[in-house]
Amino acid sequence: MPRYLLSVHMADGEAREAMTDEQMQHSWQEIQALETDMKSAGAWVFSGRLHDADTASVVRVSGGEVVTTDGPFVEAKEHLGGFYIIEAADLDAALGWASKVTRTISAPIEVWPFVDTAGG
């Protein structure tokens, strides 16, 4: 079964409209419900939400030495905020899940196919 990465991008510093506790609670419940759906459909493989970009670190080889620096690697206005890894029969099925996620969190989603591995 093909696997897809659904990645959620967040704009840095762009303060999202402050949510009331009630709204936050509601949003969290919706996300939980969606993940439950993904799991019972056998689509969910893994998912996670990431801390802000200024918490990221980068490790790279420079002049034969491994150097650690403050991250993130790509200087951009938007950074990976969270992701799902799902299994889906084809792109349309993956886009179906992505549509549900984007409705729930009100942020755009990128859908990336994984390279098929043997038996994967």
Binding site: P2, A89, D90, L91, D92, L95, V111, P113, V115
Partner: protein, 412 residues
């Protein structure tokens, strides 16, 4: 018995290769394999048919031959042998009839080619290459890019279909409205691409042929029928569209006796059937507008109020500046140029040559030749084709002469 020459085989290729490619993609699930095998089958046909004569069912012969070629290819590779075991078990002994195209194959393929996850450019290129049987070079020339650029675009698009597992199937009823939209847009853009370039005839005919085949595959979709009618009614005016010097002739100045009556009748019959269905959509309304023009013996005899009513409907469904521009032109015919010019002032179309051409025409009719000349010059600057530029420069000359006469009169 027709003479079997390269031209005839070329025509058969154009008509049949889409079906064969679509059927082989269904069987093998691999676009490149399908394309290569169908190419080889035609290469074989070019050698055999002139000697042995046409087979009773040339399309079926191509599909069967291509399928056997594909199986040969797969047998030669170890990975292919595995795949072969999975996908074509038991199909080896099928007869020509059984290997013949399942009607839905081409429909599946066009929905794959026009998947919204592909760029519009890629959608058009894939559709013309895989369903239209155009060579990469022909597709490249139609879109004014080099062959390597187009080849790269096709490779990238096919890679995405494979890597992202873009499905090969007709979308469900619920998905259909969203998924049909890019398919119709691709056919319309293909037709329009054929109104400029040198290989234009082929593209326009290809768009009409594909629209016709989708109508036969999805007879209940009113907008598909609407698109076919729109293409037929537009194409019916083709013989009158250019002057002897190659410049564009406007609808109002066209020789209506050379319009293609057969196409008009077919287009108008489809429009009438659409009206009975009463599920209006943008293509059907545009077809209806063209049907009104086709009915009129001259520009003066045109039922402009009917045209305006249709544009009102179209603008309500698709409120784009281009539709608003066309509606304003109809207003100009019903209420006069002053009312139309006021409408144009609100439109944000400064980069669109037809906006300036329409403005110029209204200014000319209002007796403001200097303003009209400026607008014609701007339109000519922006015009995408030589025929349109030639027409606009002609108009510019006309109003320019009158404009300079007037300004000289003012100065003296």
């Amino acid at each position: 018995m027709p003479i079997v020459d390269d031209a005839l085989i070329g025509r058969i290729f154009r008509e049949e290769s889409g079906r064969s490619v679509a059927t082989l993609i269904r069987i093998f699930g691999d676009i490149d394999l399908a394309e290569d095998a169908v190419q080889e089958a035609f290469a074989l046909a070019l050698r055999k048919w002139p000697v042995e004569g046409l087979p009773p069912n040339p399309g079926g012969w191509i599909t069967t031959t291509a399928r056997n070629r594909a199986i040969d290819h797969l047998r030669r590779e170890s990975r292919g042998r595995e795949l072969l075991g999975l996908v074509v078990e038991g199909t080896e002994e099928t007869s020509e009839e059984e290997a013949g195209p399942v009607q839905d194959d081409r429909l599946r393929l066009i929905f794959t080619c026009c998947h919204p996850a592909l760029s519009t450019e890629a959608q058009i290129a894939l559709t013309l290459r895989l369903l239209g049987g155009l060579t990469t070079d022909e597709v490249a020339r139609a879109f004014l890019v080099t062959e390597p650029t187009m080849a790269k675009r096709l490779v990238r698009a096919k890679h995405k279909i494979k890597a992202a597992h873009i499905p090969y199937r007709v979308p469900s009823e619920a998905e259909l409205p969203d998924r049909l939209r890019p398919v119709l847009a691709v056919l319309y853009l293909t037709y329009n691409a054929g109104t400029g370039g040198p290989s234009g005839d082929g593209l326009r005919q290809e768009a009409i042929r594909l629209a016709r085949s989708i109508v036969s595959l999805m007879p209940d979709e009113a907008e598909v029928a609407g698109l076919l009618a729109l293409l037929l009614l537009t194409e019916s005016r083709w013989p009158a569209r250019f002057a002897a010097d190659g410049s564009l002739v406007l609808l109002r100045d066209q020789d209506r006796t050379v319009w293609d009556r057969t196409m008009i009748q077919e287009g108008q019959a489809i429009v009438r059937a659409c009206l009975r269905r009463n599920r209006a959509g943008p293509y059907q309304i545009q077809a209806a507008i063209n049907a009104v023009h086709a009915d009129a013996a001259s520009i003066e005899a045109t039922e402009w109020s009917q045209v305006l009513t249709l544009y009102d409907q179209l603008l309500a469904i698709s409120p784009t500046p281009v539709v608003a521009l066309n509606r304003a032109i109809a207003v100009g015919e019903v209420q006069g140029p002053r009312a139309a010019l006021a409408l144009l002032d609100d439109l944000d179309l400064a980069d669109y040559h037809l906006f300036h051409a329409a403005r110029a025409d209204l200014l000319r009719r209002l007796g403001r030749p200097a303003d009209a000349a400026r607008a014609y010059a701007r339109a000519a600057d922006l015009a995408p084709s030589d025929a349109e530029r030639a027409f606009l420069f002609g108009r510019l000359d006309e109003v320019g002469r009158r404009g300079s006469e007037r300004s000289e009169a003012l100065r003296s």
